[in-house]
Amino acid sequence: MSKVNINIASDFTTTPGARKKADGDFSGEVFREKFLEDLFKIPNDDRIIEITLDGVEGYPTSFLEESFGGLARRYGKERCKKKLKFISVEDNLLIKEIESYIEKCDD
């Protein structure tokens, strides 16, 4: 099974913003559209997406929720859980936080 690596700090930004494009720069919506949605559009694409979360100033809740919760709302929780893999050496709790956003995306 092939892998796609995304390093948020080097590929996107070290300063993640808020939820929507209209909120300001480096929003969760922009990240989702630019990096994640293309990898979910093909139904039978079983590549794993490995996302490195380290090296940024911090992840606001709205950024994480819109990126990953928003992705789960569009493409389903199960598919997200199956395809996304997170790496964080700096903050272990961050992965649990993202998983909870995916799990509670429809609430």
């Binding site: 300063t15 300001g24 911090g58 992840y59 809740t61």
Partner: protein, 364 residues
């Protein structure tokens, strides 16, 4: 001179007339004084308002507002809010308003930011404002005012402006500005000599959450513009960094979702305001606390929204930020001391917190 004016009879008549007129004038003056004192005493005993020291000169069309010695919204909330109520009262009269700050001996960033937001709001609403003022005699307060960045937004001569490496000057914007949040974190790390870790990341997140709240909730459709203000100050003596964030929107209690009973109470409050009765049935302090604790209060009615305030509360609980104070409308939340209901409205929402290396000591 006419002969008549020299006669004894006329002189006697004239003296009596002058005395009578003088008595009438004094009687009127005394009556006016008594009625003013009575009015003030009544209001004070009713505990409705605090009166700010104001001198009105109707002939010169000027009003002088005397700022208190303790010029701080956080430490002297009631008095400061009464002063800004007076300011709002005189703005529509289009008089020159003079802020006498000479006696100020304690000045904090929150007061400067609130003053700036007030000026901006009224300038936008009414066009030109005629505001003058002086500097505090206290040198520290004067330096803080000059180097706070307040005068960047005022029409003032260049010599009044200073810069300090211990102050990150006031910035204002309408959108979320991640690079600014990064600069503030860098400023904190530099002065407190902290490495980049989970705690400093929480500072970044708190700032972004505040900015995002302004953009998404504080203003809604009726707004003039979603402006926020932010500054941070490093205190060399106490070795802490204070962050002050203000959005000049409607305030948390006005922008969160309320239930039917609360909506009914809000309508009564509105009616009372129209009848000039200062009765408030909705407890703003309670509403803010519920929003902080993560109660389902988002007006978007989406469960995955409205996580900003609970996240800030979480950072406080995990000791990433200290001395968290939130003031909005009539709610004053000081999580490390005591919450209270204010007598005057605070227009907007102020979030203030501190970082101290000592307090983070064991946690870094």
């Amino acid at each position: 001179m006419k002969k008549l004016y020299k006669t004894v009879k006329f002189r006697k008549y004239n003296r009596k007339r002058a005395e009578r007129s003088n008595r009438r004038r004094l009687r009127h003056k005394e009556k006016k004084r008594k009625s003013r004192i009575l009015q003030q005493t009544e209001n004070r005993t009713n505990k409705k308002y605090l009166y700010s020291k104001t001198y009105e000169n109707k002939r010169k069309h000027t009003v002088e507002i005397v700022m208190p010695e303790n010029c701080s919204i956080i430490n002297n909330t009631e008095e400061m809010l009464s002063i800004f109520r007076t300011f709002r009262k005189y703005v529509p009269k289009q008089v020159q308003i003079f802020f006498d700050m000479s006696s100020v001996s304690e000045l904090t960033g929150d007061a400067i930011i609130y003053m700036l937001s007030m000026f901006d709001w009224h300038r936008k609403k009414r066009g030109q404002l005629n505001i003058r003022g002086n500097f505090p005699k206290d040198q520290n307060c004067s330096n803080l005012l000059r180097s706070s960045g307040f005068f960047k937004y005022m029409n003032t001569p260049a010599p009044n402006i200073q810069h300090s490496k211990y102050i990150l000057e006031i910035e204002k914007d309408t959108k979320v500005q991640p690079h600014l949040a990064k600069n503030i974190v860098a400023f904190t790390r530099e002065h407190l000599q902290l490495p980049r870790n989970k705690k400093t990341k929480d500072i970044y997140k708190t700032i972004i959450e505040c900015m995002a709240n302004t953009k998404n909730h504080a203003f809604e459709a009726r707004s003039i513009s979603p402006l926020w203000y932010l500054m941070s100050i490093y205190d060399e003596k106490s070795k802490d960094v204070t962050f002050t964030f203000l959005d000049a929107g409607f305030g948390i209690p006005k922008t969160i979702r309320i239930n039917k009973a609360e909506s009914f109470l809000e309508k009564i409050d509105k009616l009372m305001r129209k009848l000039h009765k200062d009765i408030k049935l909705i407890n703003d302090m309670e509403l803010i606390m519920q929003a902080l604790k993560g109660a389902f209060r988002t007006r978007t009615i989406k469960g995955y929204r409205g996580k900003g305030l609970p996240a800030i509360h979480q950072y406080y609980k995990s000791h990433s930020i200290e001395n968290l104070i939130i003031i909005s409308r009539r709610g004053y939340i000081n999580l490390s001391q005591k919450n209270r209901v204010l007598r005057d409205d605070f227009l907007g929402t102020m979030v203030s917190w501190k970082i101290n290396k000592e307090s983070l000591g064991g946690l870094i």
